[in-house]
C-alpha cells in the first residue's frame, strides 16, 4: 500500500504544486481511495449498464463451452436403438461429399439411467450433474452448418461460420453494458485458446470495450494487470503526475471527449488493478465451498477454480462469463474411442454441479442463465471401420440450459431413434442465440449495430426464440 497522501485531482498545476506541498507536510486521503472514488464517480462511462428491450429473466450469463464436440448420443440423448443395431452399416455422410460411405453404427459404451422426478436420461459420464436433472433443460435438437471445429466453434459464438463477426458476449455487452464499472462486461476463462482462437470472443466492429477479456488461468491471469516489479513504489506518484499532465493538456483543448475517454480508461485500469485481483482471491471462501469445487490450496488453474471464479465474477456484476474447458488440442474430439470422453467429463462433472448448486444456494441462479454447450455433436456411426470413436456431426447435438428463465427438469427437441436427424423442435444456432438474448431482455431483431453502412445482428436475418425452454 502506498503511504503517499492525496495529491489532489483537479486540473491545474497550482493544485499539483499545492498538493505536493501538502504531501511533504503529510496527511490526507490515501491515493488509492482517491482513485477508487474517481472510478466510482462515473468517469468510467464505458463500463455502464444500459436498459434492456423488455424485462429480463436473466441479468447474467455463464457460458461453459466444451471444446471439440461432445457426443450427444453418449451423454444426454439416449438411443437404445443404437445399442440394439450396433455394428449395422449405415449411410454415413463424411465431412465432405467425397467422404460419404457406409459406416457401422456404434452403440454407446456408456450406461444410461433415468434421473430426477422428470426421469431424464443421462449417461454415467455425468454422475453428479445427473443429480441436478430436475434443474436442467436438455436441448436435444441443436444443429449447425459447417462440420469443422473451427467454423462450428465460430458459429456457436458469433452466429457466423466464416467471416469473423462479434461474439455473443460482446453483443450482450453492447446491449446491456455491465453492472461493475471496474470490470469489463464480458470475461472469458481460456487456459488454452479454442478453435478459431481469440475470434470467438472478439468484438469485431462493435466498440472495442465489448471485447471479451481473456483470463488465463495460472500465475498471470490478466495480461499487464500486475504492476511491474520496481525498485521503488513510484507508480502511484507517477500516475498522479500523468493525470496532471493529461488534465493540463485537456484544459487547453475544448472538445475533449476523446481525451477524457483516455483519462477515464486509466482510472478504470487502476480500478481493475485493485478489483480484479480481489475477484480472484479465494482465500475468503469456506473450506466446504473449496472442497465442493475441488479447489486445492494455491490452485489458480483447475476447472473447479474457473467455475468458482465465474461465480465470483457474476457476484461482482460481470454480465457474461465464459469458461472454455479445453483448447483446440486434447479435448472432446474423440475420433478413435469414445472412452476418451470419460476423462473430459470427469474433469467438469463435479465442478459444474457445484457451480449450479452454489449459484442456487446464494440466490444467484434466479438472475443467472447457465448454458453448457459444445460446437457440434458426434456421428451415431463410427469414424472409420475399425474405430470405436465418432466423427463430427452437425445435424444434431445437445446443450444444457439452467437457471434464470429456464424450464427446470425439461427436455426440448427430439432426434430420431439413431440420433441422426432432428424430428421435433429443431434449434439452429441462430435460434439458440435468439433464445439466450430473449432471456437477457434483448430482442435479437432489435439488437443491431450499424457498420459500413448496414445494420448487423448476432442472428443475421435468422433466429426464432425457442419459447419451449422458457419457464
Amino acid at each position: 500500500m502506498n503511504p503517499n497522501p492525496l495529491m489532489g485531482f483537479r486540473t491545474t498545476r497550482r493544485d499539483f504544486l499545492k498538493a505536493s506541498t501538502w504531501m511533504v507536510g503529510g496527511g490526507g486521503l490515501s491515493l488509492q481511495a482517491a482513485l477508487a472514488h474517481r472510478a466510482s464517480m462515473g468517469e468510467a462511462a464505458v463500463f455502464a449498464p444500459r436498459p434492456s428491450h423488455h424485462p429480463a429473466r436473466a441479468q447474467h450469463l455463464i457460458i461453459v463451452f466444451l471444446t471439440g464436440g461432445m457426443s450427444h448420443v453418449d451423454t444426454f440423448d439416449f438411443k437404445p436403438a443404437l445399442q440394439a443395431r450396433h455394428g449395422e452399416p449405415a449411410d454415413a455422410a463424411g465431412l465432405r461429399p467425397d467422404e460419404a460411405r457406409k459406416q457401422p453404427l456404434l452403440g454407446s459404451p456408456f450406461e444410461f439411467r433415468r434421473h430426477g422426478q422428470a426421469g431424464i436420461w443421462v449417461s454415467d459420464l455425468f454422475p453428479k450433474l445427473a443429480g441436478l436433472a430436475d434443474q436442467l433443460c436438455i436441448v436435444r435438437s441443436l444443429h449447425t452448418d459447417i462440420v469443422e471445429h473451427f467454423q462450428a466453434t465460430l458459429a456457436m459464438h458469433t452466429g457466423s461460420s466464416t467471416v469473423p463477426m462479434p461474439s455473443i458476449g460482446s453483443w450482450i455487452s453492447h446491449g446491456l453494458g455491465t453492472r461493475n464499472p471496474n470490470l469489463p462486461a464480458y470475461m472469458v476463462f481460456a487456459e488454452h485458446l479454442p478453435y478459431a482462437g481469440a475470434q470467438v470472443f472478439d468484438a469485431q466492429f462493435l466498440p472495442a470495450h465489448h471485447h471479451g477479456l481473456r483470463i488465463i488461468p495460472g500465475d498471470d491471469l490478466i495480461p499487464n494487470l500486475k504492476a511491474l516489479p520496481r525498485k521503488t513504489s513510484l507508480a502511484d506518484l507517477e500516475q498522479e503526475m500523468l493525470q496532471q499532465v493529461n488534465q493540463d493538456h485537456a484544459a487547453r483543448r475544448s472538445h475533449g471527449a476523446d481525451l477524457r475517454g483516455q483519462m477515464s480508461s486509466l482510472a478504470v485500469a487502476r480500478g481493475m488493478m485493485q478489483t480484479a485481483p480481489a475477484a480472484f482471491d479465494i482465500r475468503g471462501e469456506s473450506q466446504a465451498t473449496l472442497d465442493a469445487y475441488g479447489v486445492k490450496p494455491g490452485d489458480r488453474r483447475s476447472f473447479g477454480w474457473q467455475c468458482l471464479g465465474a461465480r465470483r465474477l457474476v457476484e461482482r456484476g460481470v454480465r457474461v462469463v465464459e469458461i472454455i474447458d479445453t483448447g483446440s488440442g486434447d479435448n472432446w474430439d474423440s475420433h478413435g474411442d469414445m472412452a476418451a470422453h470419460r476423462p473430459k467429463a470427469a474433469r467438469v462433472d463435479q465442478s459444474l454441479t457445484s457451480l449450479l448448486t452454489d449459484l442456487r444456494e446464494r440466490g444467484l441462479l434466479q438472475d443467472t442463465l447457465v448454458a453448457i454447450c459444445t460446437e457440434f455433436g458426434r456421428t451415431p456411426w463410427t469414424d472409420g471401420l475399425n474405430s470405436k470413436g465418432r466423427n463430427h456431426f452437425a445435424k444434431a447435438f445437445t446443450c444444457l440450459l439452467a437457471g434464470a428463465g429456464i424450464k427446470p427438469g425439461s427436455t426440448y427437441g427430439e432426434t430420431d431413434e439413431l440420433g441422426s436427424t432432428i424430428v421435433k423442435d429443431p434449434m439452429h444456432v441462430h435460434d439458440y442465440h435468439a433464445t439466450i438474448l430473449h432471456l437477457m431482455g434483448l430482442d435479437h431483431t432489435r439488437l443491431t449495430y450499424r457498420y459500413g453502412g448496414r445494420d448487423f445482428r448476432l442472428t443475421d436475418v435468422h433466429g426464432n426464440v425457442a419459447h419451449g425452454v422458457i419457464s
Binding site: N4, R13, F16, V24, V46, S141, H143, D145, E148, H149, A155, S160, T162, G197, A198, Q199, Q204, A208, H209, H211, L213, P223, N224, L225, L228, K231, S233, L234, L237, M241, L242, Q244, V245, A250, R253, S254, H255, D258, L259, S265, L266, V268, A269, G271, M272, S328, G329, K395, T421, I422, H428, H430, T445, T448, G453, R454, R457, D460, H462, N464
Partner: protein
C-alpha cells in the same frame, strides 16, 4: 441441411457455409427496406441513376466564396463555400509546432527530431512548409506509413487464414512491394493493374519490373483460405478475392450478389459470376494447411521471380536433386544393415541419412525451388466461363455466365474483349483503371483524404454504394478525382494538394464559443482539423524512437521455422509473436491469432478488408501503458539518454525530454511541475533506501514514463 428451422425458410439459402454461406448483407437490406427488420435509421430508397458515385466524373468548377483571403488552394473553396452557407467560420492556422508534428505523423508516422524542429522554427522563408513536405515525401518512411494504410484495405497478412493458419514466408515481398510503390509514387492505375494482373503484364513485357509485377498479385494470392484441405470452400476464397477487389478499387461491395442480385446496388448475380469466372480462371497458390501435415500435400502455385528460362533451369535442377536424394537415401538405407550398430561408421551414416531426409522434405514440401526466390502470387489458370451458383451454393450450378464486368458501370467504358485462354484479369484491371470508370478515382481520393483528416468525405471508403451515407462534399471528391487522373494518378500530387490547403492546416483546437461546436460538433463540414490519436504503429514506433531503439532498416523475411518442421493442425495451429525493434509495419501479422499489442491498439483483423480503424480507449490499453515491460524499457532508455547529457542543467534536460516526446518547446509551468515531481520521487525513493544517484535515475524513469504514455504523446493536434 436436413432440418430447416422455420426461421430459415424465408431465406434463399446463404451465408455461413456451403448452404448458408457468409453474411446476408443484402438480405438484411432487403428486410430493412421492406420493414421486416428494425433499423436505427430507416433508409429512403435511392436511385442508382442519380447516385453521386455512379455519375460520370466531371471536373466541377471551384465555387465562389465570400472570404477571398482564407483559401490557399482551389480545394479550400469547396470547403469554405459550405461553411459560409452554414454561417460557420473556419479555424485559424495551426501553430508551426503543431503543423510540423502533424505533418510528420501524417506522412511518416514518426515525430520530428529535435533538429528538425529547430530547423523548421528557424526557417522563416515562404517555402519552409513545402520544404518539409518534400523532405517527408522523399523519405523512405513515407511508404511505410502510407503503405500500411493500403495494407489495412487489402487485408495484408503473413499467414493464409486456414484453420491451422499456415505461415506464408513469401508474403513479406508483397508488403515491401506496397511500400516501394508508395515511395516511388507508382501511378495508381499502374499500381492497380499490377496487383490484379502483374503476372500477365510480365508475359507482354518479360523484363519490365518482372519480380515486382509478380509479387504485386499477392493482393489476390492473399485471399482468405478456409478449413483444412487445399482450396477447401474455394468459392468463399473467390468471394474474398471478388469482394476485396470491389471494396479496394471501386468502393463497391459485391459479396451480396453471390446469392442473389444485390438489393441496394446495381450489381446482379450474373455480374458476380461474370467476375467469378475471371478469378476462377486464375491459379492461386497453396501455402499449406492441416492436410499439408496430415496428408503430406506440398505447397503449390508459388511463382518464381526469375525469368522463365532461369526459373525452369532452377526447377529442373531441383527435380534432379530430388531424384538424387531419393536414390542416395535408398542406397544409404540399404547399406545400414552392413554397418555395425553403435559403430562410428553407423553413427555418421545415420547423421547423413537424417540430413538428406530433411533436405528431401524441404524440397518436396516447398512447392518451389527452395533456394530460388518465389512469390505468394497468382498465375493464369484455364480461362473459361463458370456457372452461376444458385443461392450461392456451388452444389447447385446454373447456366454458365460469360466473364464480364458489372454491366451498370460499364456503360461508358468499352466492352471487354477477353483473349482466348486468358482469365480476363488484365482486362478487368484495365476496365477498373479506365479514366471513365466512375468509381476508381473517387474511391482513392476519398481514402487519401481520410489518411490526412482521420475521416473520409464519404464516411465508408470501401462502400460508396447506395447503402452508404452520402458524402459531405461530393463535388470536392469529384474535383479531387479529376485532378488525380489529370496528374497521371499521382498519389504524392494529391498529398501536396491537400497538405498545402488552408483546410488541412487549420488548428484542431477551438474556442468553446465557436459556433461550429454547436452547429457541427462532429466537424463534418471541416471548420477545424481533427485531433487524432496516433495509431498502434505510430505509438510503438515513437516509443522505440524515444528509447533510441527504433531500427529504421527494412528487416526482410520473418524468422519462421524451416518448412521441414511445419506440422500445424487446427488442433495445434501456428502461433508466434516475433520480437523486433523494426518499425511496426514490419511486425508479423497472423490471421487467426492476432498480434497481442497491435490488436489491443485497434490494428485491423487481417481476415477482412478494413477501410477505417476504430479508435478505442480501453482500460486494457491503459494497463499495457502502465505495466508492460516494453513501455518501462523505453522509458528507462529515454531517461538514460537525457541523464547522459551531463553538459545540460536539469531544467534543460527536462525541456529536452518534453521537446523530444511532444515535439514542442516546454512551457515554464511544465518545467516547474516536473522538477517538483522529480524531487518528490527522489524523496520517496530515498526514504525507501535507494542511494541518491539511483533514486535520481528512478525519478527520471518515472518522468519519462509520464512523457510517453500521456495524451500529449498519444494525440496529434
Amino acid at each position: 441441411m436436413s432440418v430447416s428451422a422455420p426461421s430459415n425458410t424465408h431465406t434463399p439459402g446463404s451465408p455461413s457455409g456451403p448452404r448458408r454461406s457468409s453474411i446476408h448483407i443484402a438480405l438484411v437490406w432487403l428486410l430493412l427496406s421492406i420493414g421486416w427488420m428494425s433499423a436505427n435509421e430507416p433508409t429512403p430508397p435511392r436511385d442508382p441513376a442519380s447516385w453521386w458515385a455512379y455519375q460520370e466524373l466531371q471536373r466541377p468548377y471551384p465555387p465562389e466564396v465570400k472570404d477571398r483571403r482564407w483559401p490557399r488552394t482551389d480545394l479550400d473553396r469547396f470547403i469554405l463555400s459550405k461553411l459560409e452557407a452554414l454561417q460557420l467560420k473556419p479555424s485559424a492556422q495551426a501553430s508551426k509546432d503543431e503543423l510540423l508534428r502533424r505533418l510528420h505523423f501524417d506522412l511518416i508516422g514518426l515525430p520530428p527530431s529535435l533538429n528538425e524542429q529547430k530547423a523548421f522554427r528557424a526557417d522563416r522563408s515562404s517555402n519552409a512548409f513545402s520544404n518539409v513536405v518534400e523532405r517527408l515525401l522523399a523519405s523512405p518512411h513515407y511508404g511505410e506509413r502510407w503503405g500500411r494504410h493500403w495494407m489495412d484495405v487489402v487485408r495484408y497478412a503473413d499467414t493464409a487464414g486456414d484453420n491451422a493458419d499456415y505461415p506464408v514466408p513469401e508474403s513479406f515481398r508483397y508488403r515491401d512491394y506496397i511500400i516501394d510503390a508508395f515511395n516511388q509514387d507508382l501511378p495508381y492505375d499502374q499500381f492497380i493493374v499490377e496487383q490484379l494482373a502483374g503476372d500477365i503484364l510480365t508475359q507482354e513485357a518479360p523484363t519490365v519490373r518482372r519480380a515486382e509485377r509478380i509479387v504485386a498479385t499477392g493482393f489476390l494470392a492473399l485471399s482468405r483460405r478456409y478449413a483444412t484441405g487445399p482450396f477447401e470452400l474455394m468459392h468463399l476464397t473467390l468471394e474474398d478475392a471478388i469482394d476485396t477487389t470491389g471494396r479496394t478499387f471501386l468502393g463497391m461491395t459485391f459479396k451480396c450478389a453471390r446469392c442473389h442480385d444485390h438489393k441496394s446496388d446495381p450489381v446482379t448475380a450474373r455480374d458476380y459470376y461474370g467476375l467469378y469466372g475471371i478469378f476462377a480462371s486464375t491459379r492461386f497458390p497453396y501455402a499449406g494447411s492441416e492436410e499439408f501435415q496430415s496428408k503430406s500435400l506440398p505447397r503449390t502455385g508459388f511463382v518464381p521471380l526469375a525469368p522463365p528460362a532461369e526459373a525452369e533451369a532452377a526447377l529442373a535442377a531441383n527435380r534432379q536433386r530430388l531424384q538424387e536424394l531419393r536414390t542416395e537415401l535408398a542406397r544409404l538405407d540399404a547399406s545400414k544393415t552392413a554397418a555395425e550398430s553403435n559403430s562410428p561408421a553407423r553413427t555418421s551414416l545415420d547423421t547423413r541419412i537424417q540430413q538428406l531426409r530433411l533436405e528431401l522434405k524441404r524440397r518436396e514440401r516447398s512447392g518451389t525451388h527452395p533456394d530460388a526466390p518465389a512469390a505468394y502470387a497468382v498465375s493464369e489458370g484455364k480461362g473459361e466461363d463458370h456457372p452461376l451458383q444458385k443461392s450461392g451454393d456451388p452444389g447447385q450450378p446454373g447456366d454458365k455466365v460469360p466473364r464480364c464486368f458489372p454491366a451498370f458501370f460499364s456503360k461508358s467504358t468499352p466492352p471487354p474483349v477477353l483473349p482466348t485462354g486468358s482469365s480476363g484479369r488484365l482486362e478487368l484491371a484495365r476496365w477498373i483503371t479506365h479514366p471513365r470508370n466512375p468509381l476508381t478515382g473517387r474511391t482513392m481520393v476519398n481514402r487519401i483524404w481520410q489518411g490526412h483528416f482521420g475521416h473520409a468525405l464519404a464516411a465508408t471508403p470501401s462502400n460508396l454504394g447506395l447503402s452508404s451515407e452520402p458524402p459531405s462534399h461530393p463535388e470536392l471528391i469529384d474535383w479531387l478525382a479529376s485532378e488525380f487522373i489529370r496528374s497521371g494518378w499521382s498519389i504524392k500530387h494529391m498529398h501536396r494538394l491537400i497538405l498545402h490547403s488552408a483546410t488541412w492546416q487549420q488548428t484542431s483546437g477551438f474556442k468553446a464559443q465557436h459556433q461550429g461546436s454547436i452547429k457541427d460538433p462532429s466537424n463534418r463540414w471541416l471548420w477545424r482539423q481533427n485531433r487524432q490519436r496516433a495509431d498502434a504503429e505510430a505509438i510503438r514506433d515513437s516509443m522505440l524512437l524515444m528509447g533510441r531503439q527504433l531500427d529504421l532498416r527494412r528487416p526482410g523475411a520473418h524468422p519462421f521455422p524451416p518448412i521441414e518442421e511445419w506440422r500445424w493442425t487446427q488442433h495445434d495451429p501456428f502461433k508466434a509473436v516475433y520480437e523486433s525493434n523494426h518499425r511496426s509495419v514490419y511486425l508479423m501479422r497472423q490471421r487467426i491469432q492476432r498480434h497481442p499489442y497491435l490488436a489491443l491498439f485497434d490494428a485491423p483483423d487481417a481476415n477482412v478488408s478494413t477501410d477505417m480503424r476504430p479508435v478505442s480507449s480501453l482500460p486494457t490499453q491503459a494497463l499495457y501503458l502502465m505495466n508492460h515491460p516494453f513501455v518501462q524499457e523505453q522509458a528507462r532508455l529515454f531517461a538514460d539518454t537525457l541523464l547522459a547529457q551531463t553538459h545540460l542543467t536539469e531544467k534543460e534536460r527536462l525541456a529536452q525530454g518534453i521537446e523530444s516526446a511532444w515535439a514542442r518547446p516546454a512551457k515554464p509551468h511544465e518545467l516547474k511541475t516536473a522538477s517538483v515531481f522529480l524531487r518528490m520521487c527522489q524523496k520517496q525513493a530515498g526514504a525507501e533506501g535507494l542511494a541518491s544517484d539511483e533514486s535520481l535515475r528512478e525519478a527520471w524513469i518515472s518522468w519519462c514514463r509520464v512523457l510517453i504514455t500521456s495524451n500529449p504523446f498519444l494525440y496529434i493536434d
